[in-house]
């Protein structure tokens, strides 16, 4: 190309570039599309549309929840602040029009008019195949099923085309709730089997890319890392027809831009913003910001009890008295959390979880306890956190570091990349760390079973082992299954008290789920999985 021609063409381009900077003319078709479409912006998107897939991430759960049906689901109740909140104890049929719980089994009658997205009717063999799949594929889905004592395909029995029975292995209060979580979703078995292969008998490769369910929405386009487009399934019969016709879910990695999109009115809903942004948006009142506590979730400081100095309960108590609880609430969470500290001295332990402990920031006491434990001059250690949640974890650890330094505990901060965090947790070698745990099933014994029991699951990050603790947790589980309330209450109070006197992990606060939406969006519901349920949302 000659230089002159080049210059000419370049100036032409520059002139062209100036044109479209003018405000856009909005065509009427465009405006119509907007009013029936929900635009969601979030940081991350799904990596797999099927929760049974290998390593499906949390955004993938949201797709599964809205595009697949389960046999049963939870009723709604009014939660904190008048927001609809799932009712832990009340169930309603979803694909099942009726269900009957017997002593050692539960029988579901399926809706006769329910159809998958491709038009095939939902039958008992689809239910059986899907539940078999959930307990057989391995990884997270199988693990979640086992939490409700659902482990063997033989437990799922087809009675006739529209009746299925689930047999209990043993009495377990969590079996029914576990059938209402995201995992036991019902998949179009004929369609998936057609696309399965010998290497992949459950057709995971097929359902990774497309939804094969009967749910209220179906994925029509998915560009990984960019957007998911879902259309309403107009033939959905498991509930009232949703109001939103189309959901466009865009990934916008920059939190500042997500906020700008909301404030300009371009996006309808967003979550995963920094606490400071939520607090400011709440204050200026242009948007609706819903903040609800994580059910059964706690951010805590954990200590590895197998190694000195944290094998000494006195040291752990000293740390519990030295943490800057209120500062963390104010400067890190901006008030968007429930404090889990500083309960009144005479307050009786409740049969509930989470509940605050009685430690408070008290440097004198901390220093005294540390001296008593033989560490009058303090010691050196490292505090680790997961970089994936650096927005909260980093300032939190800096505050903790500063505070512990006052009683002579010198800490170095160890930032662990997200990909590495689970590996590190599994090794159980980090002496001091912060983390969040929250359980889908909202029962104290469920939380304690994973976090404090001596069988040492990955969430017992402290490697805590105590025969007394195990006895109380197992006791509560058995009592819950047989409906023995008195023993159950005593055991729950017992393990909470023990967890707080031995204090291997120090609860800091119960975090909030924050969702910001335009004023014209209504129908937000809080679910145990903390993702959006599009079926209840409405616009305008």
């Amino acid at each position: 190309m000659k230089r002159r021609d080049f210059l000419k063409s370049v100036s032409g381009l520059a002139a062209g570039a100036a044109l479209p900077a003018m405000p856009q003319v909005i065509s009427s078709a465009y405006a119509d599309a907007r009013s029936e479409t929900l635009l969601i912006v979030s940081e991350g998107g799904p990596n797999n549309l099927d929760i049974h897939g290998i390593g499906t991430n949390v955004p993938g759960y949201e797709v599964s929840w809205n595009c697949y049906d389960r046999l049963i689901s939870h009723e709604m109740k009014t939660g904190p602040g008048g927001v609809p909140y799932y009712d832990r104890d009340k169930f309603k049929g979803e694909l099942a029009e009726d269900f009957k719980i017997d002593d050692m089994s539960v029988t579901f009658k399926l809706r006769k008019n329910a159809k998958f997205h491709d038009g095939t009717p939902v039958t008992a063999k689809d239910v059986k195949w899907s539940l078999d799949r959930a307990v057989s594929v391995g990884g997270f889905p199988t693990f979640q099923m086992s939490a409700g004592s659902l482990t063997k395909p033989e437990q799922f029995v087809v009675i006739d085309d529209h009746t299925v029975r689930v047999d209990f292995l043993k009495k377990d209060r969590l079996t029914i709730p576990d059938l209402a979580v995201i995992v036991p979703c019902i998949v179009n078995s004929e369609l998936v089997k057609k696309n399965a292969s010998e290497k992949d008998p459950w057709g995971l490769e097929f359902t990774k890319q497309q939804t094969a369910g009967s749910g209220a929405y179906k994925v029509t386009k998915w560009t990984a890392g960019t957007e998911v487009i879902m259309e309403r399934n107009d033939d959905w019969v498991c509930g009232p027809l949703p109001k939103i016709k189309r959901v466009i879910w865009r990934m916008v990695p920059q939190a500042g831009n997500r906020r700008a999109l909301l404030e300009r009115g371009d996006a309808d809903i967003s979550y995963e913003l920094p606490n400071k942004d939520f607090q400011e948006m709440k204050a200026n009142g242009k948007l609706n910001v819903v903040s609800l506590p994580f059910s059964n979730g706690i951010q805590y400081i954990g200590m590895n009890v197998t190694k000195p100095p944290f094998d000494n309960p006195k040291v752990r108590q000293a740390v519990a008295y030295a943490l800057p609880y209120q500062k963390i609430m104010d400067a890190v969470m901006f008030g968007l959390a429930n404090p889990m500290f500083g309960a009144a001295k005479d307050k009786a332990t409740e049969v509930a979880w989470p509940q605050p402990h009685k430690y408070n920031t008290d440097m004198e006491k901390a220093k005294a306890l540390l001296t008593e434990a033989g560490y009058a001059n303090g010691f050196e250690t490292t505090i680790s956190f997961d970089l994936n949640f650096a927005g909260v974890n980093e300032p939190l650890c800096v505050l903790v570091q500063e505070s512990l330094a006052q009683i002579g505990i010198k800490t170095t901060i160890n930032k662990v990349p997200g990909a590495n965090w689970r590996t590190e947790l599994n090794k159980k070698e980090m002496p001091l760390f912060t983390n969040v745990f929250s359980g889908w099933l909202d029962y104290p014994e469920y939380f304690f079973y994973w976090c404090y029991h001596g069988n040492n699951s990955v969430f017992n990050t402290m490697s805590y082992k105590s025969a007394e603790m195990d006895r109380l947790i197992d006791g509560a589980r058995t009592a819950a299954a047989s409906g023995d309330t008195a023993t159950y209450d005593a055991d729950v109070k017992g393990f909470v008290d023990l967890a707080y006197s031995d204090i291997p992990r120090i609860p800091l606060y119960q975090p909030f789920v924050n969702v910001a939406m335009q004023k014209n969006i209504s129908g937000y519901q809080y679910w145990f999985h903390r993702r959006l349920d599009y079926r209840a949302l409405a616009k305008g």
Binding site: R3, M22, R34, G53, I54, G138, T226, R250, Q254, F459
Partner: protein, 337 residues
Amino acid sequence: MLTMIGKRLMFAIPSLIGVVIVTFLLTRALPGDPAAYFAGPAATKEAVEQIRKKLGLDKPLIEQFFRYTNDLAHGDFGSSLTTGQPVAAEIRNRLPASAELTLLGLVVSVVIAIPLGVLAATRPGSWVDHLCRITTTAGVSLPVFFTGLVLVYVFYFRLGWSPAPLGRLDVFYSAPPTVTGFYLIDTLLARDLEAFRSALSQLILPATTLAIFSLAPIARMTRASMLAVLSSEFVRTARASGLSPATVIVTYAFRNAMLPVITTLSMVFSFLLGANVLVEKVFAWPGIGSYAVEALISSDFAPVQGFVLTMAVMYVLLNLVIDILYGVIDPRVRLEG
């Protein structure tokens, strides 16, 4: 010329093999354990092992390597775990997005930087020279994500002139049928002017951000190289022969000053293509840089290897193009040399 191109491509093969080996080893040396990561938060040890087996990560390293090279030879880059898609398809979809943005950014930058550099060189010490110095210093010292955020704040949030920073197209337009992968070209081919306008208006802010950043090296290099040429003897001769200043500068001096500028351009281009991650993040641009970084964060081997390999090939090709351009601009550079 063809033999020269062939020869150059031959020389590239060993370096590509090296790249394959090094990226394979480097990704394996990353501290994260993909099996633990993808087994999910609630995984037991057995679950992690099951995943490891499914991913083939339980095999010895050498076997994994042979499997990988064998797949590569069949054009299979493997599958990404974070996005769940085949890497080759992802790169094919994402590379044009990055390339379109980078090219446009570079064009804007060249249009501003080269005249600025030339003017600054012809009038050293004047206000133009100072302007050049200030813009380039500012451009290079402002981090791209900052410039990007400021532009979004001013032109989208405050003034509302620019569309929402939501990627390549407004959410309510559908992408044109893929021909080149460049939306500006594809929308025109599809005769969809509304989509073209949407694509272009989405591009303006990110392209400007990149342009501001890449202005500095190009303008400084133009200025320096022009200064050197302007003080040389043939320019003096041209001036002495009574040629108009415009002819001297544009026809004689500028052409001779182009070589180092072209080299800088190629460096800036390849740098921008891989390194505009931050711009892509700010503007939710579905490009290749953000893809690679996300993969790296979750120790997702396949996309990282695919990305590095693609970049290596691009570098080789780019260098080849630059060498050919040298010959066009300066006949003294003999291609056959």
